[in-house]
Amino acid sequence: MHAVRNVKLCTKDCLCLFVCPTGATDTETGQIDAEKCLDGCRACVDACPSHAITIVPDTFPAPQLKTDAVKASLLSLAGSKVKQEQTANAIARQTNNPILKQFASALSKSNRLMAEDLLREAGYLLPQSRNVQDLLQSLLDSPRTDDFPREAAQRLLELLEGRTTETTEKEKNMAGTMDNLMEAFAGESQANRKYLAYSRKAEKEGKLNAAKLFKAASDAETLHALKHFEVAGKVGGTADNLKDAVAGETHEYKDMYPDFVKVAEEEGNKAALKSFEFAMKAEEVHARLYQEALDSIDETEEVFYYLCPVCGNIEKSVPEKCSICGVPGDKFIKY
């Protein structure tokens, strides 16, 4: 979201220059610098006496879905208007009579405007809409002429992509399934960890068959969880995944665990306190490592990571002892 100036309305009162906290309104082009504009702070909008400044959103809501019957009716009329526009153009081209030429030009213009209006209402209202992007893609995929300006269409697709909040009809119909996939992902993930804990316990108790079954089932739940997560479309590109990981770990060490630590202290649960503190400190390290990996995503030189098997700390070289829990360095696991 950012502010724009309608230069036709601007009466050069220039109050926007004084109120803008970032100087975004002060440009050589007469337009507001969208990069500098804060996310819709509106100071300039409210200050402008000529009502020349408005806020434009970066994304738009989904336009109304058009039924096939409405589309067919509109397209049929639009086709006729286009034919009339072209006939009027031919009349204007062929005649030497300046009055007929003028009349035909007016008719051509009128028909072009009606055709535009009918086509826009046939589902092509918003340039960012999925429908328009699909049309551009289909023109690119099967151009009907050799000299089709591919670059223009390609550039438009790049510019328009991701600027609509529209969900496709298919996605809308699958909203329930999407929720279920994420719920199943959470359930399977927990079951995986739970069975692993049970397996270790069974091992300690010497119940080796049970330990084996728990381990196998734990791995099976991992398979389920990974599939659910993937089908839900949650696995993006690595750069996006690293960003997501930084956000997740940061939330945990900054907001979630500090609250948990406080409650554990108040309730005097020392074991929980220790578990939370180890995790909190380790998550902070993880966030930093994810950020480093994101910053150097294109570097190819191999990096090794060393995991502390007690607290979950990760180091990039073997330490003398773990900086979080004090475990000796030789216990660290190399990755």
């Binding site: 039924t67 009329l77 006729s80 009055i99 055709a115 209006d117």
Partner: protein, 221 residues
Amino acid sequence: MKKYVCSVCGFVYDETVGNPEGGIAPGTKWEDIPDDWVCPLCGATKAEFEEQAEDVGSDVPQAPVEDRVEDMRELSFGELSALCSNLSKGCAKQYLPEETGLFDELSQYYQSRAEPVDGDAQVGALMDLIAQDLAGYPAASGVAGRDDDRGALRALVWGEKVTKILQSLTKRYEAKGDALLENTNVYVCEICGFVFVGDKAPDVCPVCKVPNFKLARVERS
């Protein structure tokens, strides 16, 4: 004494009042008005007027709504040109100069590839298409109303009115020839496509009601 309403702009001709500015004395019966008289607001011919119903609440019989059974056809180059020029305008409204220019480029490309109209182009050919469109509007509006599509309905209401004006103008041109436009101006509403022939553009567009700075004068070259 009866009243007649212009179906394009809503102007009411009241037989009691007449239309003195248009040379029609008070008390003139509708049938006594000369056939070349036109609506003083929008220029529609007498044929576009309907008698004002006494009972406003009475139900107007609706055209039966029938779905057109036809496959979605491929858009023609001319249609793609109009579609892209409208998207270009849409981008301009959002202050997206690069997108505006690119859609304009596509629009011009498709316009240059559109099949030219063969042979001798005549106003009569336009009149046939106009009559065909006017026969199609009620059914199209019926479908849009049934499917609760206000946007489509709005475009169809404006389009039908503008098409009626084009019918009036082409008929008047066929009857009067160049005299229709010789000593006056032609304006086109840049919003809805309404065409006005007269010395001075009306204050607002009679169809879409936009103020007249959007009514562009078409110059004679």
